[in-house]
Amino acid sequence: MKMTVDRNVTLRMARAAQIRIPDDQVGHMMDSINDILDFCALVGDLDCAGVPDFTWKMKRLAPRRPDVAHEWPDRDEFKAAAPTTDGDFFRVPKINAEE
């Protein structure tokens, strides 16, 4: 069954996720969540009878790697791709839980 969220539910979800959404972006966030829910509904229509669940059933050996350290050659590319940086740091939203 297809689900949708309205503006109030969107704001409640934001509160549960501890993020603040500016008023002018609530509508955009609501649309994005509804797009995801539409996609879930689409996936839900698939006939998955007989398809095994996603937990590992086989007691097979996981590949492991030897404990050898090496540097990634171009680390500046990560900062270049980040939305915001500050000197050597990535800049991220303030999270209130620790306050």
Binding site: V68, W72, F90
Partner: protein, 488 residues
């Protein structure tokens, strides 16, 4: 004096120990991050670039298993990883890869002794997980309050941790401190971790509650942010007192997480905790389960070194006291140093005194670790043997040790600098010297002979003169005996 709780205290600890690997848990980035420029030990895997896959570090599995075995736990032949989702930017993935349910080891125990009483703390399990990055808040005091954003350094993100979860068997802050001290000692003996709390290699989260009158468990409070053993004990003492006062005044304890503020010596409630903690664990699909074979378990068991309590029992066989064995075995390197001194022929009891009193004193003065100690065990053994044979006095021996510990000089050179020579001054030579000293101090000799030395200070002065002249080579007992005979 510690606060005495009017209600039984129940404490369970979660101890996170950074494992001594060269590379991170799921990627080849270096784990050597202290003092490094932020975000230099990073790669597409630990920064969660889409399309990358984690690959388990074999050493982390071995070290986690080793620690679990040290705790007498059982290695699980089959364990897996989960995703622990949480909304916090200290891991770029927005989830932590950890073990949940099927962990690397289960069960076990650690025996401790607190307030002179033995205690067994049961271990629930040990699991592997990745460490998070570090958040920096751009405010003057480094706190979040007043910040409008945060900065993140992912150098630590992905460093392997073993989390050791105890059963709630701990009954006092002192026991909690002792438990962590013994756990740290074990981790160091096993070369699993350096266990330094100050640098964050070992971190403790404490769950504490006070039992209800009927014996049922009270409401649990979690405490974080304790950066030393002392801070752990103080935080738990504060929390014990706080909870008692709340209950005494008719209040109720709120289930919450509190942060220890070391500067103010209080715990403070973390805001918003009551709405958090839905981690939505689910299996990590990018990693196949870890399977450990019987052969590997046997290999882990065979590679276990002698453990602290085994070493203590063996040292007791040297005739050492409980206190002596505890000090000598506190650090594996110190215990090994002591054993090497004994292996070079120093009598065990004497060597124990020298290592416990003098070596530790010099190391403390130099702010050095035993691993940086310049005096080789064979040299200390030689020194101890000279003193034991009374060819050198204890005072000169300590002087020589001080020189050797501070400067790169051979034993003979250090000996020369003290002005001493090996060889005991005794018999006729000692008597001749005593006669000379008595002749040089006729007033004192007369005073002693006529009974005007009630407190013995004048006699001690003459003995001191003999020791000074001989640079400590005279046998103190023989000197005292000869002087007494001559001064009757």
């Amino acid at each position: 004096m510690s606060y005495v709780s009017s209600r039984p205290v129940v404490i369970g600890l979660e101890v996170h120990i950074q494992l001594n690997t060269r590379s991170k848990l799921f990627c080849p980035c270096s784990t050597d991050y202290i003092g490094k420029t932020p975000n230099t030990n990073v790669c597409p895997i630990c920064l969660a670039v889409p399309g990358t896959l984690p690959l388990v570090n074999d050493s982390a599995v071995a070290l986690g298993s080793r620690m679990g075995l040290g705790l007498r736990g059982e290695i699980q032949k089959y364990s897996n990883f989960h995703r622990k989702n949480y909304f916090y930017p200290d891991l770029a993935k927005a989830y932590q890869i950890t073990q949940y349910g099927l962990t690397i080891t289960v069960g076990g125990y650690l025996d401790i002794e607190a307030d002179g009483k033995p205690k067994r703390v049961r271990i629930h399990h040990l699991h592997l997980e990745e460490d998070a990055g570090k958040l920096v808040h751009p405010t003057a005091d480094g706190r979040l309050t007043g910040a409008s954003y945060s900065l993140v350094d992912y150098n630590r993100g992905g460093v392997p941790l073993s989390e050791i979860v105890s059963e709630p068997d701990i009954s006092s802050p002192a026991e909690a401190k002792e438990y962590v001290a013994r756990l740290r000692q074990l981790a160091r003996y096993l070369d699993v971790s350096d266990g330094e709390m100050e640098s964050g290699s070992l971190r403790v989260d404490a769950n504490i509650s006070l039992s209800n009158p009927g014996g049922s468990l009270g409401t649990r409070v979690e405490i974080k942010n304790m950066n030393s053993l002392k801070a752990l004990e103080r935080a738990l003492e504060y929390e014990t007192e706080r909870q008692n006062k709340v209950l005494d005044s008719g209040g109720r304890i709120v289930q919450e997480t509190r942060l220890w503020d070391d500067a103010e010596s209080v715990t403070r409630s973390m805001r918003n905790k009551e709405t958090a903690s839905d981690y939505r664990y689910y299996p990590e699909m990018d990693l196949a389960p870890i399977v450990i074979t019987d052969e590997q378990i046997e290999e882990f068991k065979k590679s276990m070194p002698e453990l602290p309590w085994e070493k203590r029992a063996r040292f007791a066989g040297y005739g050492l006291s409980k206190e002596e064995t505890a000090i000598l075995t506190e650090r594996k390197e110190l215990a090994e140093y002591y054993e090497a001194v004994v292996s070079f022929g120093a009598p065990p009891a004497r060597a124990a005194n020298w290592v416990r009193m003098d070596v530790l004193r010099v190391l403390n003065e130099l702010s050095r670790d035993i691993r940086e100690f310049k005096v080789k065990p064979e040299t200390l053994a030689e020194l101890v043997k000279y003193v034991e044979a009374k060819e050198l006095s204890g005072t000169v021996g300590k002087e020589i040790l001080d020189i050797l510990a501070r400067e790169d000089v051979p034993f003979d050179e250090a000996l020369k600098r003290t002005g001493a020579r090996t060889g005991r001054l005794t018999g006729g030579a000692l008597e001749t010297l005593i006669d000379r000293i008595m002749s040089a101090n006729p007033d004192l000799v007369e005073a002693i002979k006529s009974g005007r030395d009630k407190k013995g200070g004048k006699l001690k002065f003459l003995q001191g003169q003999v020791m000074k002249e001989t640079k400590g080579q005279a046998d103190p007992r023989e000197t005292a005996s000869l002087l007494s005979e001559k001064l009757v």
